[in-house]
Every structure is written in C-alpha cells, then in structure tokens.
Symmetry: C2
Subunit: 321 residues, 2 copies
C-alpha cells in the first residue's frame, strides 16, 4: 500500500446488509439490518480513509414496481429508471441516517450524503439484444402475453414459478457524478452513491442523456466508480466470509488470496455462481485491470463483520493484480 | 449587489414547474413540464452564478402514498419520511437530467447533482401539537375512524370532500447537508436539494437524528438552506408574475417592490393566501432577516419565464430589507 496517501475505499454493501432472505421488506426490518451493519462497519468507516458506500436495491425496487402495478388504476405507473431513482433516494436516506448515528455515537466524523447517481451505458451494449435480468413479480401465461403486447416487455418463463419480466443488464461505461463525488470526498464527506447500480442512461446523438429501463449490476457500477475516483480498495461485502472454489461441494475450498490471472481461470472453469459470485469476481477484475498500476490496489470480498480484519490480512478473500 | 463576488442563487421551483393542475402525474407529463421549465431557466442557470435548485413534491408524494396504500396487502407500506426520500430521488433525477440536457444544448456548464437532504426540525415545534398539512387521498368517515384507531393518524374532515390525514408542518431548524452543498457549489456543481422541503428529522437525547412523519414547507426549507449557504438571491418561482395585494378582487394591485416591513404589514392584514402566497412571504422574511446584512440580499417572486427579467429589475416582485 502506498504510504503518505489517504486511502480511498469503495464499500459495496450486499443485499443482506439491508434486507435478509425471508424478510418482507418493512422499513423496521431495513433499519434493524442497517443498524447491525453500521455496528459492524464503524471501525472501517472511522479509519480516516475517504469512503464511498454503494448498495443494491433488488427487493426494494421489486416492491416498488409491484405497488406501482397494483395501483395502476388510480396512479400513473412508474417506469424502472424512475423506481431506481426513488430507491436511491430512500435507501440512501436510511443508510446515511443510520450510519451517521452510529458514527456519532462512536465519536467519529459522521457527515454522510447520498447523491442520486446516473450511470452511462452503451446503447449498443449486447445486453440490450439479450435482456436477462429478472425484475418484479411472477405472472401467469396469459398475463405475460398481455404485458408483452401492451407494454412491449420481454417476459420469459422462469423455472416452474411462472413468467417474469427481464431487462437488459448492460455494463457501466461511466458514472455521471464521479467528478463531484471525488470532490465531496476531498471535503471530508462519506458519500452514498450508485445505489442499485445507479440509474442507467444512454447518450443520444445530440449528446443528451436519456434514462432506460435496464439494471446495471451494483458490483460492476461500484467497480466503475472506484476506477473513476482512483480508489485504493474496493470492498465487496456479501453473505460469505471468503470466495470459494468448488463452492457447496465436498471439495469446497476457501481462497484467501487470488490474482487476476487465477480469478480469470476459476471464472472460466465455472467455480463462481452466476448472478452471485460471478459478477463480484468480474467487477474485481475490471477494477484491478483498469486502475493506474503505479499504486497497489486490492479488492476484498468478505462479510461486513470481517471487513476490517480482511483489510489487515487476517481473513476474507483479497484479489490483487 | 456586492461586486467582485460570485453570487449564489437558491431557485425554488413551484409545483407548476413539474406538474400542472388537472394532470394525472405521468412521467411523460413531468418531463414535458420540466423541459419547458428548463428552457425558461437556461439563461438564469448559465449566468455564471452558484446555483441550488429546490422543488416541491405534493402530487408525487400523494401518488406514492396512494400506491403504497393500495398495495398494502402485498407490499409493506412506506411511511411518509421514506416516501419523501423516494421523491427526492426520482424528482431530483428528472430535474438533474432534464436541466443538464438543456444546458448542454445551450453550450453552458451542465454538471448537476441531487443530494438527498435531511432537515432538522424541533420535536417541540408547536406544529406537532396541531397537525394541519393535509396529505394523501380522501377517506370516508368509517375509513377515517379505522385509520385513527389502527395507525394513530390525525384525520380531519376536509370541506365537503371527505376525511383526510393531516401531519405537522414544523419550521426547518437546520439543513443537515448544507455544509456539503456549499462545498459542491465551490466545485462548480449545480445542486438539487431539499426536494419536497427535505426529509424532516428530530434530534434525540443522544444527539442521533430520527425521521418523523411530517412535511416541511418547501419555501421555508429553501429559505433556511439559502441562509445556511449565505445565498445572495432566493428565487421563489410560482404561477403568478407578481405578488399582489387584494389578490383576485377588483382592487388587485401588483407589488413590484416590497420591504420586509411592508410584507409583514400586508401579511398581518391577510392579503396573502394561506398555503399559497403566505408561506412564500414568510420564507422571504425569514431569509432577509437572518442573513448577514453586510451584503444586499433579494427575494424574487415571479414565474419561471420572467426570473431573469426580474433579477434585472424589469418585472416580478422583489422583496428587500
């Protein structure tokens, strides 16, 4: 690690930090989980580093889409980019207030602000030809038929549970708010950004930006932001303490250290779950390959309670060049 | 106006800038209105000043509460502070993207970012003893009775149209994000803040902040922010070109210039509509009385299309000390 340089951390909170499996998604549940996460992270947040926090929005945006759909007779429906922006607002508020309270009680600096972040994606990203990210609720076959016809949605049969809307999940090209986030860090603020992967926008011929109904993976968006603000460490906090090879088999083996080359090989061999560990490893590789090699960079993948221990090399998975 | 000082403007957008009377509240309507507002404001926004934009959220938060209520059987309901934070996210996104596009086409600087703003209110504010701000839809008498019992809501009979929930509308004590907003302005960003009046929070005994189900008037929140960031001009943009005395009577008379003393006298005489011009005049007085008198300060009340003309003294109402 470079000396004499205040380190910049991007900390991506996994879904588990805000809502856990089987919870319904009440505000009380979310605050309780966030308070626990805040306790677990208070040491890391108080470490004197420059800090950006990012987060997912899967269950929250699903609930908002569902409410919007159920109320459609009375209230004009909200498209996906608008729902995403709404979750950036309210999840950001819950995070900034809960973490600020925990930091205030711990006696540390506690200035935290959420920025509503737009993420530029390429309108020619192949993901738009092949929408694959399921969002919202399950439909019957006849509902699916009607929604395809009336709204032009892509709807696929999803296992045995019914039909589900899928949208594109393009890669992030640039973070529209990266410059101001960097200057907020310079001013000593902890910044909550690219919530839910940020609001995907495409650039039109006249250079204007326009929102699209797509979902940017939050780990890739976090990596892109980490590259643009020249972060030193990208934390990807999730539900497992380590990355494993042969996960959930008798041969399962924790991987405390991974190089980019090893990560690529294991990725190609299919060791990492699609939609779970795979995008995290992909985001780690993106960050390590696209940042200035003049400084050491690390990606740490672990659970929130061991994030600080992992930074100190005592646990968790560290991915390096 | 002080020379040799880049002026700071707080521009409060009235409801009309985003949704007009009789519109349902579709996203298309909101973008169309915002594009028109952007065209009208592009001269003012390109004037080389430091700019904060604030806005209301009445119809949007009403629709969100209604959707949340209609979906209650399937999706946990969202309390008012969470709905407010959600509207800060999505209205902020629509504003930042639409204005940035207009400024980009005009060749000006176009960096705009929304911050999710919390507004500290006093838990002992008398408004909490006397909730008076109607929110959400109308209920029947029996629904009102049930909601009072089940949720502890304050519900009043609202004219002949039924029963309606009312919440407190406390005065803003301080804007939690004021310091970082000021430093974002220093970095050349246009900032969208205190949307819908900001998210009201009270300070607990241990100094932690906690969200409350209340609504801060957006003009008062704008004035409070303008005081904290030491703004030079507070624009309150609304549906009328001037403030009037004897409004909507045969004696109606436009008021191009008002001092604080005159404004107070006319306010006491009841010339300004409750819930419409009254809080704007109250906010103007607050701003002029609480800012450093070493510089000239102005409050301009007019429609968006004459905001620049009003700054140059050609139209609109100017309130001064």
């Amino acid at each position: 690690m470079a000396k004499n340089r205040t380190r910049t951390f991007v900390i991506a909170l996994g879904g588990n930090c805000i809502l856990r499996a089987k919870e319904r998604g009440t505000v009380e549940e979310q605050y309780r989980n966030l308070r626990r996460t805040a306790e677990e992270l208070v040491g890391l947040l108080s470490s004197g580093s420059r800090i950006v926090i990012t987060h997912g929005n899967g269950p929250q945006v699903g609930n908002l889409l569902l409410a919007s759909e159920m109320a459609e007779a009375m209230v004009p429906p909200l498209p996906l980019d608008i729902c995403g922006a709404a979750t950036e607002g309210f999840i950001g508020y819950m995070i900034q207030n809960t973490l600020a309270n925990a930091l205030r009680q711990a006696g540390g600096p506690y200035k935290i602000t959420t920025v509503v972040s737009q993420v530029v994606v390429d309108a020619n990203d192949p993901a738009f030809e092949n929408p694959s990210k399921p969002i919202g609720r399950f439909y019957s076959e006849s509902e699916a038929e009607r929604l395809r016809r009336e709204k032009g949605w892509h709807i696929i049969e999803d296992s045995a549970r019914g039909y589900r809307r899928v949208v594109a999940s393009p890669l992030p090209v640039s973070i529209q708010q990266a410059r101001i986030i960097k200057s907020m860090l310079d001013a000593g603020e902890i910044v909550v950004a690219v919530g839910g992967g940020g609001i995907p926008v495409v650039r039109e011929k006249n250079r204007n930006l326009r929102g699209v109904e797509a979902v940017v993976d939050k780990d890739y968006a976090s990596a892109r932001l980490a590259i643009e603000i020249d972060a030193d460490v990208l934390f990807i906090l999730t539900a497992v303490e380590y990355v494993y090879r042969d996960f959930a088999t008798p041969q399962q083996k924790a991987l405390p250290d991974l190089t980019v080359a090893e990560a690529k090989r294991l990725l190609a061999e299919g060791h990492f779950g699609r939609g779970s560990m795979e995008p995290k490893i992909g985001a780690a590789i993106m960050f390590l390959e696209e940042t200035d090699p003049a400084w050491e960079r690390d990606v740490i993948i672990t659970v929130p309670e061991t994030a600080l221990g992992a930074l100190e090399g005592r646990t968790g998975t560290r991915v390096t060049r």
